[in-house]
C-alpha cells in the first residue's frame, strides 16, 4: 500500500529537476538547446540544403574539436592557437583602452569645462563602427597587428570613458562637501572618494568595452589576415567549409561569454559591497 502511494505522489525526474530553481537553471537551457538542434537537424535534412546539419558539422570538424593544439606552421594551427592569437590582441587593445578610458573619464568628469568641450566629440566618435577605423589605423601604423590592436582600443575606449564620466558626475554632493571641509589633498580625494565612488560605473564601462572588443576583433582579423579566429573564419569561407565556420562561431560565442563573466567576476571582488 505504502509503495503505491509513494509512486503516485512522486513526480518524474524532469519535473522534479525543473521545480527546483537551482537545477532548472541548468536543465532548462539544455532542453532549449536540444530543441534548437533538433529543429536545425530537421531543416537541413534535405540532401541539397545549403547549410550542414549539426551532426554533419561535428563529423566534419571532429579533428578540429578533439585536437585544438596542433601547430603545422603559418596559419595552419589548432583552434586554441587561433583564439589565443585573437585574445592576445584583445587583451593588449583592451588593457590600453581601460587605462586611457578610466584616466580620461576621471579627469573629464571632474572638470565641467573639459566635459562641455569633449563630450560632444566623444558622442560622435563612439558611434563610428569599429571597422571604419581600420583603414585609418592601417594608414597610420602600416602593419596589420598594431592596426588590429588599435581598432580594439578605439572601439572599447568610448564606453569606458563615458561610463567613468557618468560615475564621477554622480558622486553625491555630500561626499564632495566632506572632502572640501576636510581639505583632502588631490591624491586623497581621488583615491579615497572619487575612485571608490566611481568603480561600479567603471566596471559597467569595462563590461561593455570587452564585449565590443571581442565583436571588433573577429571583423578586423577577417580583413588583416594572419593567425586569429577572425581570419580562420574567413579562410574557412574561402575553402567553402561551412562546418568549420559554424564551430568557430560557437567558440567565439563561448569565449565572448567567458570574457564578460571574467570582468563581472573581477567586479564582484573590487566593487565595494555597499555600491552593488
Amino acid at each position: 500500500m505504502a509503495r503505491a502511494v509513494n509512486n503516485r505522489y512522486q513526480p518524474n525526474l524532469i519535473n522534479r529537476l525543473l521545480s527546483n530553481k537551482k537545477t532548472r537553471k541548468v536543465i532548462a537551457p539544455i532542453i532549449a538547446a536540444t530543441f534548437f538542434l533538433i529543429i536545425w537537424q530537421l531543416l537541413t535534412l534535405s540532401p541539397d540544403a545549403n547549410l550542414p546539419s549539426p551532426i554533419k558539422v561535428i563529423q566534419q570538424t571532429w579533428e578540429l574539436i578533439i585536437n585544438p593544439f596542433f601547430d603545422k606552421g603559418a596559419n595552419n594551427k589548432g583552434l586554441f592557437w587561433q583564439i589565443w592569437a585573437s585574445l592576445q590582441r584583445v587583451i593588449q587593445g583592451f588593457a590600453l583602452a581601460a587605462i586611457v578610458g578610466i584616466s580620461v573619464g576621471i579627469i573629464v568628469g571632474t572638470s565641467e569645462f573639459l566635459f562641455d568641450a569633449l563630450d560632444p566629440i566623444f558622442q560622435v566618435l563612439r558611434t563610428i563602427p569599429p571597422l571604419a577605423w581600420l583603414p585609418i589605423s592601417l594608414a597610420a601604423f602600416q602593419q596589420s597587428n598594431p592596426s588590429a590592436i588599435f581598432v580594439i582600443f578605439i572601439t572599447s575606449v568610448w564606453p569606458i570613458i563615458i561610463n567613468t564620466i557618468a560615475g564621477v558626475q554622480q558622486i553625491p554632493q555630500d561626499y564632495v562637501n566632506v572632502s572640501k571641509v576636510l581639505q583632502l589633498s588631490r591624491k586623497e580625494y581621488f583615491l579615497e572618494v572619487v575612485f571608490p565612488a566611481t568603480v561600479p560605473y567603471i566596471f559597467t564601462g569595462l563590461r561593455i568595452g570587452i564585449g565590443l572588443s571581442w565583436l571588433a576583433i573577429v571583423a578586423a582579423e577577417m580583413l588583416i589576415g594572419g593567425v586569429g579566429i577572425g581570419f580562420f573564419i574567413w579562410d574557412a569561407w574561402n575553402a567553402a567549409n561551412v562546418s568549420q565556420i559554424i564551430i568557430a562561431l560557437l567558440y567565439v560565442g563561448l569565449v565572448g561569454l567567458m570574457l564578460d563573466k571574467l570582468i563581472a567576476f573581477i567586479a564582484t571582488k573590487v566593487v565595494p559591497d555597499e555600491k552593488k
Binding site: P172, D174, Y175, N177, V178, K180, V181, L182, Q183, L184, S185, E188, E192, V193, P196, A197, P272, D273, E274, K275
Partner: protein
C-alpha cells in the same frame, strides 16, 4: 555693535566677550533668469566662543544658505563673515560640518571614516597617535564596538554618531550641524541630543545648529536665532535660553519659563511669521 554677554552658569561655561564669529550686514543674492533673487538680507549676528546657537525658521528661509557661508561653501553677496577676525573664503576643517544625511563614505568603516578626517587634518602626527584619536572619539560617542562596521550595517542614530565623532575628532573651532537629528526617531534623537550637549559642555565647543524642533533648541541652545520668511529673510529675533547647565530635560520642562519661551517661539513661527504656501 557687539553685544557683550557675561553669563556665569553652574558649570562655569565661559562666554568670552571677544567677537568669535561675526556675521555683519550679510546678504545672499542669486541671479536668476527673471532678475535677482534675494535669499538673505541684513543678517547680523555675533557668536561668542563656546556658545551653542540654534537656528530655527521655516524651510526656504535661508538657514542653510547662512550656514553654507559660515562653512565657506559659498560667499556672501554683501557684508562679511569673519571667524576670529579672518574673513571666511573657503571650507576648512576649523568649521567642521555634521550633515543631515551623515555624509559618511559607504565603502569605509566607522573607524576609517573618522581616520580619513584625522589623517587629513593632522598629517604630521604619528600613525599611533592618529589611531588613538580616532578610537577616543568613537568611544566618546559610544561606538567602540562598531568601529569596524560599514555605515550600511549601522542604524541611522549610529551613523550620525560616527559623523559627530568625525567632526569632533579634528577639534574644529566651530561645529556646524545642519538638522543633524531630523531623520531620527524621537528616542534616538533625545539620546543624541543629550550626548551632544554633554560632549559640547566638556569640550567647550562653539556650535551652530539648524533645527526644526523647538524643544530641541530650548534644550540645547544658549541662544535661539529665529529667522523671518524668505525671500530676503533676516534674523527676526534672538531668544536667550537662560536655563542653567548641565541641563536636565525633565527639570527644564517643569520650569514655567520653558513654556513662556516655547510659546513665544511658536508664536513667532506660526503667527507672526506663519509660512504662507501660496
Amino acid at each position: 555693535m557687539i553685544q557683550t554677554q557675561t553669563k556665569l552658569t553652574l558649570n562655569q561655561r565661559v562666554v568670552t566677550t571677544d567677537p568669535f564669529l561675526v556675521i555683519q550686514d550679510v546678504a545672499k543674492i542669486y541671479p536668476t533668469a527673471k532678475g535677482t533673487y534675494t535669499v538673505l538680507e541684513n543678517v547680523n549676528l555675533v557668536v561668542n566662543q563656546s556658545e551653542f546657537i540654534c537656528l530655527i525658521g521655516h524651510s526656504g528661509c535661508g538657514k542653510s544658505t547662512l550656514l553654507n557661508m559660515i562653512a565657506g561653501f559659498s560667499q556672501p553677496s554683501k557684508g562679511i563673515v569673519e571667524l576670529k577676525g579672518q574673513p571666511i573664503t573657503e571650507p576648512g576643517p576649523d568649521r567642521m560640518m555634521v550633515f543631515q544625511n551623515y555624509a559618511l563614505l559607504p565603502w569605509k568603516s566607522a573607524f576609517e571614516n573618522v581616520y580619513l578626517a584625522v589623517n587629513s587634518v593632522y598629517p604630521h602626527k604619528s600613525k599611533a597617535e592618529k589611531v588613538s584619536i580616532v578610537n577616543e572619539n568613537l568611544a566618546m560617542v559610544g561606538l567602540s564596538d562598531a568601529a569596524d562596521k560599514k555605515p550600511q550595517q549601522l542604524s541611522g542614530g549610529m551613523r550620525q554618531r560616527v559623523s559627530i565623532a568625525r567632526a569632533l575628532s579634528i577639534r574644529p573651532e566651530i561645529l556646524i550641524l545642519d538638522e543633524p537629528f531630523g531623520a531620527l526617531d524621537q528616542i534616538t534623537k533625545e539620546e543624541l541630543q543629550e550626548e551632544l550637549m554633554k560632549i559640547c559642555g566638556e569640550q567647550q565647543c562653539t556650535v551652530l545648529m539648524i533645527t526644526h524642533d523647538i524643544d530641541e533648541a530650548l534644550f540645547l541652545a544658549d541662544r535661539l536665532v529665529m529667522m523671518t520668511n524668505g525671500p530676503a529673510a533676516k534674523i527676526g529675533e534672538v531668544l536667550d535660553i537662560p536655563f542653567d547647565r548641565p541641563r536636565d530635560r525633565d527639570q527644564i520642562m517643569e520650569d514655567p519659563e520653558y513654556y513662556n519661551l516655547r510659546n513665544y517661539a511658536l508664536d513667532f513661527l506660526y503667527h507672526r511669521f506663519a509660512h504662507d504656501d501660496e
